[in-house]
């Protein structure tokens, strides 16, 4: 599904906290943001250029070592304005969660299909690992009390943990249900 330019707002959002290079932004999708969005550097670099043309961000050059040039991007007032406008807008659409495993499951008609157990077990492993990873993130970033300056991040981590917990429980119960037949 071609999203309506959410990536633009992700970049603005990341830059609203601190200045970053294109590489930093790319890396963000391997950690935090990666829990709920994905993007490649080949999409990010051209978009940075476009956002700068639109005066939503600007950059300055720095040199690392002898000659490695970095473009460090910052958000402009106009960029911050657009970001906050987007956040404040209603979010009425509940987009379909495109989960390939669920899709495959839909086309399995019989409860004695021999592929069911291995499929469910594979997913259980994946979601268990994801849950562990999320719990570690939570521990690492919000150990005892919640960081007052990243409340949204705390909430989405909490939500993701809750979701993966539910997912694994459903998988476990479904696997149990298969065995008792």
């Amino acid at each position: 599904m071609a999203q309506r330019n959410k990536l633009k707002f992700i970049i603005l959002g990341l830059l609203s906290e601190k200045e970053l290079t294109g590489y930093d932004i790319t890396k963000a999708f391997d950690s935090d943001i990666g829990e709920f969005w994905s993007a490649n550097h080949s999409q990010i670099y051209p978009l940075l250029k476009r956002l700068e043309d639109d005066q939503l961000i600007s950059h300055r050059l720095t040199i690392t070592g002898e000659k490695l040039e970095k473009k460090v991007y910052s958000i402009t007032d106009q960029g911050a304005k657009e970001l906050n406008q987007w956040i404040g807008e209603p979010t009425p659409a509940l987009s379909a969660t495109k989960d390939e495993f669920i899709l495959k499951l839909y086309f399995i008609r019989k409860n004695n299909d021999p592929r069911l157990a291995p499929m469910l077990t594979e997913q259980l492993n994946l979601h268990k690992n994801k849950l562990i990873h999320l719990q570690q993130q939570m521990e690492k970033k919000f150990h005892n009390q919640s960081d007052k300056n990243n409340f949204g991040h705390f909430l989405i981590l909490q939500h993701a943990i809750q979701r993966e917990n539910g997912y694994t429980n459903w998988l476990i119960e479904t696997i149990q249900g298969l065995k008792s037949k």
Copy 2:
């Protein structure tokens, strides 16, 4: 995120149950399949043509009324083979769940941001309605005992209900948490 041709398998999967027109397939995304995937007719019609070129499906013409032509598509043996191969393959990737609301939440830093309560309430309404809709679907399609010939569909409905239940509970608790401050 441009998916790796999942739509192809959705079409094959739908046709593996019964023959359908392009219009029928388009409609499927408004109901069942729509819970976890989306597609427009402008994507479906050209793909039907391509799948027929690849001999995974075939069609016959029928006339409704005086002259309304319909192309009724069926899956071929080769198509069924590819479908089952896909279902049997591992599904190792856990794709990011692209949820615009969660994205916005991530960029809210302060727990006293005035936008939080209305945002959470809006989502609570959406997810409550979705939950009700899913429960109605479950009641309608699998009333007393589960249909033995649509076990996968039963499972994904169960999973979706579980997920929306968790989502609404999390929203309710988060809204409660905001008030007690």
